[in-house]
């Protein structure tokens, strides 16, 4: 007991020194509904978040040096955060989540919708569940929105993450699910443009046979991977810029025909695409 207590106090002291004294107080403010054992109904345990702050903060502030713009566009209550998706490893989701936890006022803990096969992976499944990340079924999403949670969705899915470097910052086909959910739950949509993610791991080629063999969605060949082994898979320390757009509201029948939904989806997509172009124009260098 004694050792772990000392360790915990030490970790918390370091966390406060690095991330500022207000950081732990911010965590207290996270809105949650917990049972007598400290879990929310989905298995999220907010008291574990404080142990993750230090690594989170390191990557957020020092490795990727994230710069956020217009974060005040995130409304209170239920909201769907819709973002572009890139970079072979979903670092963008992690950094958007960190930005809202570390910088937004009041802080929020976003829930992202993970792939349906994630629960089949040992340890990974448990990690995601404890940190509030949830399998992306429409039922789960609706339930969370009704609880006034903030949900992060990448409508491009794996098509976005695994695209090649020559397609960088070109949005892939958007799924329609998020729009139907927004209409059903009457939730506003905040478009998000992430600039920087594409350069963290430029994929020159997708080695499909090996991906199929390993059961991965893709097997990217980058300038350093697999050349330099596992170390080469580490994302490059690019500078991230995250732009939060003004929230968009849509109305209509959630069960409408695909062609009608498609129009609304396109409106979000073009907004994000133009936000990306603006962000790229302002950027002078990939690494700073």
């Amino acid at each position: 007991m004694g050792v772990s207590d000392t360790l915990e106090r030490g970790l918390m002291r370091v966390t406060e020194r690095v991330a500022g004294t207000s950081i732990l107080a911010r965590l207290e403010k996270l809105p949650t509904r917990l049972n007598e054992f400290g879990y929310d109904p989905f298995g999220f345990r907010p008291d574990l978040v404080k142990y993750a702050i230090l690594p989170c903060y390191f990557f957020y502030k020092y490795y990727f040096r994230v710069e956020t713009h217009y974060m005040s566009n995130i409304p209170k209550g239920r909201v769907l955060l819709i973002s572009n998706h890139a970079g072979q490893v979903p670092i963008d989701g992690f950094l958007i989540g960190s930005s809202i936890l570390i910088e937004a006022e009041p802080p929020r803990f976003i829930r992202s919708m993970i792939e349906r096969w994630a629960p089949t992976l040992p340890y990974v499944s448990q990690f995601f569940t404890r940190f509030g990340q949830i399998v992306g079924t429409p039922e789960n999403c609706t339930r969370l929105l009704e609880n006034d949670e903030a949900i992060l969705v990448f409508p491009e899915g794996v098509k976005g993450v695994n695209k090649l470097f020559n397609q960088r910052y070109q949005l892939q086909e958007f799924g329609h699910g998020f729009m139907r959910l927004a209409l059903k739950s009457n939730a506003p949509i905040v478009p998000i443009a992430v600039v920087g993610s594409e350069e963290q791991a430029p994929s020159l080629h997708n080695f499909k046979p090996l991906a199929r063999l390993l059961g991965f969605p893709a097997f990217p060949i980058t300038p350093t991977f697999p050349l330099l082994g596992p170390l080469g898979a580490l994302p490059y320390p690019v500078k991230y810029r995250i732009y939060f757009g003004e929230s968009m509201r849509f109305s209509g029948d959630p069960d409408e025909d695909d062609t009608e939904i498609e129009k609304k989806v396109q409106a979000v997509k073009t907004t994000i695409q133009s936000m990306i172009y603006r962000g790229l124009k302002k950027r002078r260098h990939v690494f700073w």
């Binding site: 049972n35 007598e36 879990y39 109904p41 298995g43 629960p119 992976l121 399998v135 039922e139």
Partner: protein
Amino acid sequence: MGHDYVVITGIAGNLGRLLAKRLHKEARIIGIDRRPFDDRPKDVIHHQIDIRRKKAEEIFRSRQIGAVFHMGTMHNPRQPAAERYSWNILGTTKILEFCRRYRIPKFVFLSSADVYGPNPANPNFLTEDAPLQGWRDSGGGLRDLVEADMLVQSFFWKDPDTDIIILRPVHIVGPNVRNAPTRYFNLGRAPVLAGFNPMVQLIHEDDLTEALALCLRRKVRGIFNIEGAGAVPVSEVLSQLAVPTFSVPHPLLHAGLRLMWKWHLTSFPAGEMDFLRYICMVDGTRAREELGFVAKKSMHETIKSIRQRG
């Protein structure tokens, strides 16, 4: 309703006994079971017969019956499959036929939330219209229960005059309950799957009998998920009960259990390990709103009751 008889099949089972004791003051109870029910309350009539025999129909023909609780399904995975199938499926069909023939106003079937099956793509809280995937890769007992559940559902339209109710409770625990979850949580050293720790829902036996009793009082029909006080990870239940655990990678435990099962060294079929791997949780909103059911025991009391002996 008060003047009519209430039939309980499987009355000699642990839950049957609890329900009989819960209801015998407010209704006249007739029990049907192959097993004897010796310590029954004096006002409970017990017929020690096989529900599939001709004599069983006599019970329904001769008396005015207000409701039937069908809890007599067999889950023991060690029973020969043919006998178990005949008991579960033919037995249930027989009783449903009696209900239709003798215009019995109410039929309550005790199913289980296990019929949805643990599945990686499950939404966290399954509603009553979710597909029943409990047959996947699991012991035969569960497959029978899925089939019996669907059989009862088909009588929603075959027999519109009877109010048919299906209850799908989460894992039932308590001092009187002996089922796979209570046996697991009472192990001296419990195996857990390395890297997996799904959320589980438990309900106390007293809460379950209360839900069954509400079925008698309320004019409702349809399917109801019955949930307890909440959900916790499997590891939390084990640590509350101070059960020492050891972690085993899933393929190893699966293979080991299959071998042990073959040599009669375990009572857990390997397929049931998926309940320690994936979630199978339900949304009890419908029962709360239409049946008026809310679990009274806290999660703490429910977990502690696993160690009490009734």
